[in-house]
Amino acid sequence: MNTKTPLSSKNTIEFRGVSFHINDILTRAIVSGISLEIPQGETLVLLGRSGSGKTTLLKLMNGMLLPTKGEILVQDRSTAAWDPIRLRRGMGYVIQDAGLFPHFTVAENIGLVPSLESWGISLTAARVDEMLQLVGLDPREFSHRRPRELSGGQRQRVGVARALAADPPILLMDEPFGALDPVTRAELQREFSALARRLGKTIVFVTHDLREALLLASRIVLLEVGRIVACATPQEFLRLDHPEVRAFTSSLAIAPGTPA
């Protein structure tokens, strides 16, 4: 039984003409007309202002939201056809506040999905140590701590370790470094960029920070009020002539220093 990787190895995510509406008083489109292919091993950064629909796209990928129109294929199968539990176990997920379970130790947090997948105690424990080392935390020092005994940066490291623990082929990250102080953020960005290259996973990374996007992305997708307005490699992106692209690049120019 292949419990380690619920998804098969050919892990592409594909959006086919996807729209997502919510019905309150009026029908509001959160995202519309999204078509996008994410090949295996890519680090795709979804860039955009607050409310541009970045997080919605992430939640459409792991079936927390289902599209109103069109479909999203994960491993060539529509998210609507997937068993949501199987789909999500194959996707690591990291959010801004890490969302660590406060009543679990660091080791229990990281070992959760492996234990849900019945890896067994010794295999899970070994994996937890391995993951802690991967994110630069000493297992002897951190395994038994609770999330409240960690700094913000340490918490995000544990969040990344937890997302990677069951070795999912896909990693979804929603502004994971957004709440950190600038120094810690830069440190984690650098380390994560190296880690991402080493792991070869398909990563979808949401941010509103162009600098972060340029550092991490193999491709940047820019969203503006629920639509894709640009899609380019970091080098190409800076040369694009679109008002929203210029809005983002000019935000860079104000800040001292040059992007990586």
Binding site: M64, I95, A98, F101, H103
Partner: protein, 214 residues
């Protein structure tokens, strides 16, 4: 003889009776609380996902709280099976009183959890049952226990009135004392009841602090 002397000597002379009544009282409270917890906590877990039932369940529980306790005991007497004179009727009334704090705190505890934690649990592919039992419930435990603590203290007080329908307990002394205009008799019921309430508050408070997850 001064009134204090009377009270003291009354306590001394009736030690066994007072102790017996205190144990009876405690038995009423413990049985009622066990039943109230067995109903209130699962019901609270059940209504978390069902908004329509939530309003009805919390509404009914609130109504029972607003009925004066003596009246509630009176209402229950003519009802077949659960009514009549004695302990059974008293326990039913005590359960109805204890239900609201337990139900409400269970509901509030289970719903008042950091949305980021619940979102992670969902996104990690935990099933609804796993989220309820492994995330929501342990995180809500301190709040649920606070409800149980409130309910226990209310029940210890209300149980003194159960003596009016022949359920025994410390209320027996109080009613007799009122009838005979005897402070000593009233105190023989009221003091142990107050001490029980303080003790329960203290012990459950200790447990609550230990279960709290910050």
């Amino acid at each position: 003889m001064s009134p204090q002397m009377t009270t003291w000597s009354f306590f001394a002379d009736h030690r066994a009776e007072i102790l017996g009544a205190t144990l009876d009282h405690l038995a009423l409270v413990v049985i009622a609380m066990i039943i109230a917890i067995l109903i209130g906590v699962p019901l609270g877990m059940f209504i978390v996902q069902r908004p329509a039932l939530r309003t009805i369940a919390l509404g009914i529980a609130s109504i029972f709280q607003t009925i004066p306790s003596l009246a509630l005991f009176g209402f229950l007497i003519p009802i077949p099976f659960i009514g009549g004179i004695g302990k059974r009727t008293a326990i039913v009334a005590l359960v109805l009183y204890a239900l609201l704090p337990i139900l409400r705190n269970t509901y509030v505890g289970l719903t008042g959890i950091d949305p980021a934690v619940l979102e992670s649990a969902d996104a990690m592919g935990m099933t609804r049952a796993q989220i309820l039992f492994r995330v929501r419930f342990p995180l809500a435990l301190a709040v649920i226990l606070a409800g149980i603590r409130t309910a226990t203290i209310i029940t210890i007080g209300v149980a003194t009135i159960a003596a009016a329908i022949g359920a025994g307990g410390l209320g027996t002394f109080i009613f007799r004392g009122v009838a005979l205009v005897s402070d000593a008799l009233i105190l023989a019921g009221a003091l142990p009841a107050a001490l029980l309430a303080l003790l329960a508050d203290f012990l459950l408070g200790l447990l609550e602090r230990r279960l709290k997850v910050s």
